[in-house]
């Protein structure tokens, strides 16, 4: 059975580390913001990139440096575990607006002390007033975008209230060069510029900023070395003193010089990773293919007798607990769209190597084991599973991890991920090296920039088709007038109207993106750019198009099943079977089906997506292809736009503004998450769900697609359970489904957790592409999870036949 390895010798330490994190209350951490503000006051006259770099260096030099008890891997973005690090330059005003409510807000509250409130008001706010990136976006957003935004037809503040994130540093390069190597490389590039030539100064100034940021990292490393030595000198326990001396030893090597050992390498990765948040707090900074870039260090240690597999496993587990520390700070509304504090720090195992061959190694299994041992909601563990190349033993390990019920790993179909990267313009041989990012996005370490910026509410799109562009809740005309649907004589006319509405909303998002791209240019990240080689080669920041490959912003589409089922119901009821007239249907929707229960029943009885049925699934294929292709056609400053289906928890708030739909859904209720069928409508079981979901062109949605499936805990009761699950996963891959995530929890536990949250503090649940503590989710999301159809097929309910 797949469970945590409680008998392993390292679990005592891991359990202690884990308890410290679980028992910490999410708290606002403004120390970095105070240092940043002080720094910015001193650097008014310098170029903005240098100001950011200097502020980063100052944070490295002045921030609190703590090594907690039992730690082998050390470091922290802020000063406390489970801190919400405030990046004042991006979004100070968010905290300002919520200063007195954030401790008690319904979604992802953060405790903040009165003392910190005072410091915020007196030190941070006065300087940043009117200067933050978020304020610039609020001031420059076009009015029609504001209308769409305020009525939740689109949601586009997600990446304006924090950094954009969604990137993966080149850790292979970082480990092999160290900061000194990178600085030497920058110096060499700098020497190729000539201050006497026009336009070379900005390049030189930028490279100087990068060097400043790199020096900051070295300072921080040295401070950890000294702290470890200080504690070692005070330590009375011989074992612990030895551990602290080993930590000091690691920092005497890294981050300045290249890592030589596994311990140095994994500590270096964590130090760099945690430092990124000091430059710009954001979700989805990924560690990427950690089993690949750490393997040479592990192998060398193992061969030299410097490490045992168990010691390496312990270091992985220590790192995993560290990754569970940070909490995503964002505004209360955005938290409603993505709650659970999750930072989406994605780690990946499996896949293929740069020669296209099986890349699974010993560390691939350890990476999965670390999540089974720690049972924490972060990091986000993903696997790239290559059906043709990866061994069954690796898939079995994935199944065993799913069996633990911790919601991991997020299972990614490797071949589809590769195709998504190609669709972003990455050549095939480099696409082999892709890694999952955030929840289900695709990424390429050290080489690509591109992130999602907006959500589109497909529920509102249905309203616009039925109501000639009028938004039901506000009564405003926010969509296009595509004509009176009563005048449509064929399904084709209706489908064309739907496509026009989609094209219109895509155009509006494009307009918003063009403004955002300009506003966001004011967010340089010289420290992050250190691990994107092309940024050094071109002396151009990551934020300004310095990466080797670039994409336009991504659009997330929400309410897929509601949209498909609505279009399919109209097709079936009004046009194919003529059971309801368009006029009757419109009246019923206007009345939220009150007095029209017979029509609602017909709407609910119409064939639904998720059952492997031709009518709704053809609508799904047709409409989703249209959406992906037409999104991907749009140009932006940084490339073609991308599309994705990864709503996080956005389907909950977006549903609150959507009236009754032809799918039979009542007004103002939640929409359906990701690619999942609407709860309770997928009556043909898991295979039918996967078949329907596979009819959506996953590879065209290059920002990723997300499928949640809840499997009853009963599934794994039988010894054949994990093997059945393996078959299911292989089938999903053959079908072309990109991602699937499984909740293996039974309803009773969830309902009990709602009643007695204090008894279920560490109950993990998949929300939508990520894992969170169930008791920390808002009640609507909790209800939704409980309501979702449990795939009963695996329950050994009864043998077939008459017996």
């Amino acid at each position: 059975m797949g469970t945590e390895n409680q008998t392993a010798s390292y679990m005592d330490r891991i359990n202690k580390l884990r308890d410290r994190v679980i028992n910490a209350t999410p708290t606002m951490d403004i120390e970095n913001a105070l240092i940043l503000t002080k720094s910015f006051k001193k650097t008014e006259a310098l170029p903005r990139e240098m100001r950011k770099a200097q502020a980063f260096k100052d944070v490295c030099a002045e921030k609190t440096v703590t090594i907690w008890d039992n730690e082998l891997i050390v470091g922290c973005s802020g000063k406390m575990a489970r801190g919400g690090v405030l990046c004042a330059d991006v979004c100070w005003s968010v905290l300002d607006k919520e200063l007195d409510t954030i401790s008690n807000r319904p979604y992802d509250p953060f405790y903040i002390s009165e003392e910190d409130k005072k410091l915020f008001r007196e030190e941070i706010k006065p300087y940043w007033l009117g200067r933050s990136n978020f304020e610039k976006w609020e001031a420059q957003a076009p009015q029609d975008i504001v209308d769409l935004k305020e009525n939740a037809v689109i949601y586009i503040d997600r990446k304006a209230v924090r950094g954009p994130g969604e990137l993966t540093p080149d850790y292979e390069e970082l480990l092999s060069e160290g900061m000194d190597g990178i600085i030497a490389y920058i110096e060499q590039k700098k020497s190729e510029y000539d201050l006497s030539k026009p336009n070379h100064y900005p390049k030189i100034a930028y490279l100087n900023a990068m060097i400043t940021a790199a020096e900051g990292m070295k300072i921080l490393g040295e401070r950890y070395r000294q702290e470890a030595l200080r504690l070692a000198a005070l330590e009375t326990d011989d074992t612990r003193r030895g551990e602290l001396e080993a930590v000091a030893q690691v920092f005497s090597r890294i981050p300045a010089r290249p890592a030589r050992t596994f311990h140095e390498a994994i500590q270096f990765v964590y130090l760099y990773h945690s430092s990124i948040f000091m430059e710009q707090n954001a979700a989805s900074y990924n560690l990427g293919r950690i089993d690949q870039y750490l393997y040479p260090y592990y192998k060398a240690d193992l061969e030299a007798g410097r490490i045992t597999p168990e010691q390496a496993q312990e270091l992985f587990c220590c790192t995993w607990v560290k990754l569970a520390e940070p909490c995503l700070f964002q505004d209360g509304v955005t938290a409603e769209y993505a709650n659970g504090y999750t930072m989406f720090q994605n780690v990946c195992a499996g896949g293929i190597d740069k020669f296209g061959q099986d890349a699974v190694n010993d560390l691939s299994y350890m990476v999965i084991q670390a999540s089974m041992d720690t049972m924490l909601y972060q990091p986000s563990l993903s696997v790239r599973y290559n059906l043709a190349k990866n061994p069954d033993s690796f898939l079995r390990k994935c199944a065993d991890c799913i069996n633990t019920g911790n919601g991991f790993p997020a299972f990614h179909n490797d071949e589809i991920g590769i195709r998504m990267m190609q669709n972003k313009g990455v050549p095939l041989h480099e696409a082999y090296d892709w890694n999952p990012c955030g929840c289900v996005e695709t990424n390429l370490s050290g080489r690509i920039r591109g992130y999602v910026s907006a959500d589109v509410n497909l529920g509102s799109i249905v309203e616009f088709i039925m109501n000639r562009g009028v938004h039901r809740k506000s009564g405003k005309k926010l969509g296009l007038d595509t004509g009176d649907p009563r005048s449509f004589t064929t399904y084709q006319e209706f489908a064309d109207a739907a496509k026009k509405q989609i094209d219109y909303i895509i155009k509006k998002v494009v307009e918003a993106n063009n403004v955002l791209d300009e506003v966001w240019d004011d967010r340089p990240v010289p420290f992050i750019s250190l691990t994107f080689r092309n940024c050094i080669d071109t002396a151009t920041d990551y934020a300004h198009g310095g990466t080797k490959y670039e994409c336009g912003n991504g659009i997330i589409y929400d309410g897929i099943a509601d949209f498909i089922n609505s279009i399919a119901a109209v097709k079936e009821l009004v046009f194919d079977k003529k059971m309801v007239t368009m006029d009757e249907l419109i009246q019923a929707l206007d009345a939220d089906f009150v007095g029209f229960e017979a029509i609602q029943k017909k709407c609910l009885d119409a064939e639904k997506y998720g059952n492997d049925l031709d009518n709704p699934d053809r609508v799904a294929a047709e409409m989703m292809t249209h959406i992906a292709v037409n999104t991907n056609k749009q140009d932006s400053k940084y490339g073609k736009l991308m599309s994705g289906v990864l709503p996080v928890t956005a389907h909950v708030p977006l549903g609150k503004v959507v009236g009754a739909l032809p799918s039979g859904r009542k007004a103002w209720t939640t929409l359906t998450d990701g690619l999942s069928p609407t709860g309770g409508t997928d009556v043909n079981g898991a295979s039918a769900v996967l078949k329907s979901v596979a009819k959506i062109p996953h590879d065209l949605f290059s920002s990723g697609t997300l499928l949640n499936m809840k499997l009853s805990n009963e599934l794994m009761k039988d010894e054949r359970g994990p093997v059945n699950l393996m078959s299911l996963l292989k089938s999903a891959c053959s079908l072309g489904v990109f991602h699937a995530q499984f909740n293996v929890v039974d309803k009773k536990v969830l309902m009990d957790a709602q009643k007695h949250p204090e008894q279920h503090k560490d109950l993990l649940i998949r929300v939508a592409g990520y894992t969170a503590y169930f008791v920390e989710l808002c009640p609507e999301v909790q209800d939704e999870i409980i309501h979702r159809t449990v795939q009963e097929e695996f329950v050994p309910a009864k043998a077939g036949g008459c017996c």
Partner: protein, 305 residues
Amino acid sequence: MTVGRILRIEKLSTFDGDGLRTVIFLKGCPLGCRWCSTPESQKKTTDFGIHKNKCTNCFTCVDTCPEGAISHDDAGDIFTTDMTLCKDCRQCVDGCPAGARIAYGYNATVDEMLRELGKDSVFYYHSGGGVTVSGGEPLVQKDFVAALLEGCVMQGINTAVETSGHVPWENIENVLPWIDTLFYDLKHLDANIHRQITGVDNGLILENLKKIDETHRSFPVIVRMPVIPTLNDQDANIKALGLFCRGLKKLKEIQLLPYHRLGIETYRRLSLSYGLEGIRSPGDDEMNRKVDLLKDMGLRVRVGG
């Protein structure tokens, strides 16, 4: 084209053969086992049921029926459908505002069924699964089942059949070429008791199994016995089962299926009284003891399918 009477299809089943399977339950059964957990499978004709917790007693079903076939008792608890009048138009089901009325059973041609079964071929492929025909008693519909299984085999889909064995030999003979695994259900080895608890003699059943075992076909046979406390769970019966099975050349294993009461919900929906009130499912210890009895006789045996 041969038409079958189908009760339902269950996808991704893991309990009636290897791997992930689609199980087709056919309508109609010559037996009337007292513990039957799928009473809706017994009659070949359509059964109508009511979700009791959904029904609002609006009597729309009664009013909509064009044949006037539906009646109800005074309390509105029991709805009766006169099957001599019913034309199976299903208006009562489609028109039920609460979605409470259920019809069990439908017709499908071999081609329609093959199309539906083919939908999950990728799941069969990766799991070593396939299609299982069950019931009711599937071999009553011998032509349909033979054509369906032949269609599966010709598409490379693994087949299994679960039968009570209580059909004329020619029905079995018809289907034998297309079977990859046979599940054969035995209930009691004593003819009299068998008649008491299933309504039929076990003579034909035992004779057919011996005949199957003598054929040149090479498929494995899995003998299944439900373990129903007080009705057939006596050690003597288990040992008799073991003795009979020891003589079978095709026997792969014996599966003992513990009695369960999950069918009660359907009895309520069909307004049928449940014959076995008061009997509990046997515990794990009890089942293991029976397994050991058979193992001691040198047989391969396990609990569950």
